[in-house]
């Protein structure tokens, strides 16, 4: 078990090698190796090998939202998308604001066994932004490394200050959904010419920029680590750049959809394009790409947000915000970053595996493809185009904004500690032990 032989793979798109995996660890890398007897073999045919992808931001909806996604179906989507670790946001029902819920999520993820499911704990009780949740207990009892009220902003500056201060002693990171609620009351779309024409209340980019600026100042004073979720505005990048230059311990993520899609898609009023923060302008997507290439934005995180059709096939303003992301993330990154030459495969490994693992403090993910390292791997056919069809994705819901789009790059195998979890578009169920 957990033994594997991979022939003719190109780590980070470099020269082709063969790899021997034994006991979940890479034990040999070289050329012209022979497969050990009776070991499962993958002929990579020169495809690109990456460290297993790590997603700091997914919604698996369990417990409470099982009509849209479960830990089992979300895990399948993750494995098929090339992920070996995902971070499940706490806005479930009940909210993951106690160890009871976070340990349940971790245990269910392990039972499914297709991807490491790490619970994200709530910063405040019930995501209400008023009282700190038991961060220490969640950190010690179920190993929570990241806390967020995602979907809501910790709007009260004093509560945010206390959260950052308290977290600094636990060496955990606070991930902020940066949105000043006072500036986004009733907001439905990026504030600008498209929203004004469509009569949709505007979500001004300043609501993001001001919270990020405030939080960077608070994190600096607290000596705490801050992670900014789903950056969407070009000016937020400027705030992050100067905070990083000043030594603030801040990291940031961008979603695939904010790299590719713009609010021009809204004219049909199809809520599949409704997301929070909203799709912004073409200038913003260009700024996101540049910032990711530059490293001001550290990582890509999907904000995978399944919603059953009764929550999406409605009028725009009552539709829930969010889009599927796990099975399209790598393709969108290849399309927006690799094809234009903004990132090479080393860069893809950095923004989708190494840096996310580092931010979340995962010792066994995002590691180099080297002897002695855990065999968490993703094999990619970088050239193969495919057409996105929501109905064929593994998630229970089918709310992909890329329906019918042709995107490059197909994940052909995902390996979790030496075990193949997905191969050629199919899930490989773990054998019961």
């Amino acid at each position: 078990m957990s033994d594997l032989f991979i022939r003719n793979a190109r780590p980070y798109g470099d020269d082709a090698v063969d790899l021997v995996v034994s006991g979940g660890v890479i034990t040999e890398i070289g050329t012209g190796l022979t497969a050990p007897d009776g070991v499962e073999t993958i002929d990579a045919e020169g495809r690109v090998l990456l460290p297993g992808l790590v997603d700091l931001h997914v919604h698996l909806r369990e417990p409470g939202g099982e009509e849209s996604e479960t830990i089992a179906t979300g895990s399948r989507a993750a494995a098929l998308g090339g992920f070996t670790a995902v971070f499940a946001m706490p806005n479930t029902s009940p909210v993951a604001d106690t160890d009871v819920v976070t340990s349940h999520v971790r245990r269910r993820g392990a039972e499914v066994g297709l991807v490491d499911v790490h619970p994200v704990g709530a910063v405040t009780v019930g995501l209400k932004g008023e009282r700190l949740a038991e961060l220490g207990t969640m950190a010690s009892a179920s190993g929570v490394r990241m806390f967020s009220d995602d979907g809501h902003c910790v709007n009260d500056p004093l509560v945010m200050r206390r959260a950052l201060e308290y977290a600094s002693a636990l060496d955990v990171v606070i991930a902020q959904h940066a949105e000043d609620h006072r500036l986004t009351q009733g907001a439905q779309a990026n504030e600008g010419v498209v929203a004004s024409r469509l009569g949709l209340a505007g979500w001004p980019a300043t609501a993001e920029e001001t919270i990020v600026a405030r939080d960077c100042a608070l994190a600096r004073e607290a000596g705490a680590r801050l992670h900014v979720c789903h950056v969407s505005s070009a000016r937020t990048v400027d705030v992050l750049r100067s905070a990083k230059a000043a030594g603030v311990k801040v990291s940031a993520e961008v979603t695939p959809h904010h790299l590719l899609l713009t609010d021009a898609a809204l004219t049909s009023y199809d809520p599949v394009n409704k997301v929070n923060p909203p799709l912004r302008t073409a200038a913003d997507t260009q700024a996101m790409r540049a910032a990711l290439a530059e490293g001001v934005i550290d990582v890509v995180a999907t904000d995978h947000a399944p919603h059953a059709s009764q929550y999406k096939d409605t009028e725009w303003q009552v539709a829930k915000p969010g889009m599927l992301g796990l099975q399209t993330a790598l393709s969108v990154v290849v399309h927006t970053m690799v094809e234009p030459g903004l990132l090479d495969w080393h860069g893809v490994a950095r923004v989708m595996s190494e840096r996310p693992a580092e931010i979340a403090g995962l010792p066994d993910q995002g590691r180099p493809i080297a002897v002695g390292e855990p065999a968490n791997l993703t094999l990619v056919d970088g050239d193969e185009p495919w057409t996105v069809r929501g109905a064929t994705l593994a998630s229970l819901a089918s709310n992909t904004p890329y329906e019918g789009m042709r995107l490059p790059a197909v994940v052909t195998a995902t390996v979790l500690r030496g075990r193949v979890t997905a191969r050629d578009g199919r899930i490989v169920e773990p054998v019961a032990t």
Binding site: Q185, Q188, E191, G192, V193, V194, A195, S196, R197, L198, G199, L200, A201, G202, P204, S268, Y269, D270, Q310, D313, T314, E315, W316, Q317, V318
Partner: protein
């Protein structure tokens, strides 16, 4: 024309054809003892209103009846909607009952677009076709209001092209303003939005119009002025300091009305807040075309139903 969802569905020729049909229908009904044309006999027209409305709903109903359509009115209160039925299910139910046309007013911007999308999918599946008419969706559009305003301007000024039209007030929350800006621009008018910055949406500067904060400077150059209702129920964010200051800064007083050129027309989509945005004496003056707007509303809506359900006349 399959649906009427937004004025951007209309190019200048189509909009003008609708206005011409409206004129012809008005002529056809003039002096008739029985105001009934057989054009839409056997057709079923349903008005589905999720917001309170008097003039628009009644106007559509009369338009349908004068053309012999069977008109049915559904209001959100006292229907399955109050039992939690989704918009999609309600609209598909009405289509399944054989509605040829559903006229919808809804508080959500884009609701009519969604209905049209569902109707088109349903048509692909079942072959039954339902036309959707937007009778006001959230803060997006109210296309027939803009058409009846254009009809009224054409009556009073002889033409719309080349005229300068001021639109004053709560543009931010106004579907009437959006429909008028884009339709009047399509018809060749010059549009000026006059409002405090807090009542103008970010992005309006890129609409086909000019923006001003000084009503007194604009009045002498306007061929017509359209006063928008100040929508008190939407004033949640302190968009201006007080209604008194609004009336002083932007209200159409008698003195201000006198600054219009002699031919200058005063429009208001109604319902009016007399004394707030418009002085009663101005609203009742000879310049005001407010009741002419209401009369034209019926004919314009007859024209829309005609074009949708019977095809554009030759």
């Amino acid at each position: 024309m399959k649906h009427l969802l937004t004025v951007t569905d209309l190019d200048a020729a189509t909009a003008t054809a609708l206005l011409d049909t409206s004129d012809r229908l008005r002529q056809a009904l003039l002096g008739r003892e029985v105001r009934k044309l057989p054009t839409l006999r056997g057709r079923t027209v349903i008005t589905m209103f999720y917001e309170d409305s008097t003039r628009t709903r009644v106007s559509f109903e009369i338009a349908g009846k004068w053309m012999s359509a069977d008109t049915v009115n559904v209001s959100a209160k006292g229907s399955s909607v109050s039992k939690g039925e989704s918009l999609r299910d309600t609209s598909l139910t009405l289509s399944a009952m054989g509605a040829d046309c559903v006229i919808v007013r809804h508080p959500a911007s884009g609701a009519a677009h969604r209905l049209a999308g569902w109707a088109d999918k349903d048509q692909a599946a079942t072959g039954t076709h339902t036309s959707i008419v937007n009778a006001g969706d959230g803060t997006h559009e109210h296309p027939t209001q803009a058409l009846l305003d254009a009809a009224t301007l054409r009556d009073r000024l002889g033409s719309v092209a080349g005229r300068r039209i001021g639109i004053v007030g709560d543009v931010l929350h106004s579907r009437v303003a959006r429909s008028n800006v884009f339709l009047l621009a399509t018809l060749g008018a010059e549009v000026v939005l006059i409002a405090p910055p807090t009542l103008l949406p970010v992005g309006a500067a890129q609409w086909p119009c000019r923006v001003s904060h000084d009503i007194d400077a604009e009045l002498p150059g306007l061929d017509a002025i359209m006063m928008l209702r100040v929508q008190a129920e939407r004033m949640t964010g302190g968009f201006f300091p007080s209604s008194r200051e609004y009336a002083v800064s932007y209200g159409l007083s008698e003195a201000r009305a006198a600054m219009l050129p002699e031919h200058g027309v005063v429009l208001h989509p109604g319902p009016m807040v007399r004394g707030m945005e418009i002085a009663p004496s101005v609203a009742d003056s000879a310049r005001a075309a407010i009741l002419a707007q209401v009369r034209n509303g019926v004919h314009v809506r007859m024209a829309v139903l005609y074009h949708l359900l019977a095809g554009a006349p030759e």
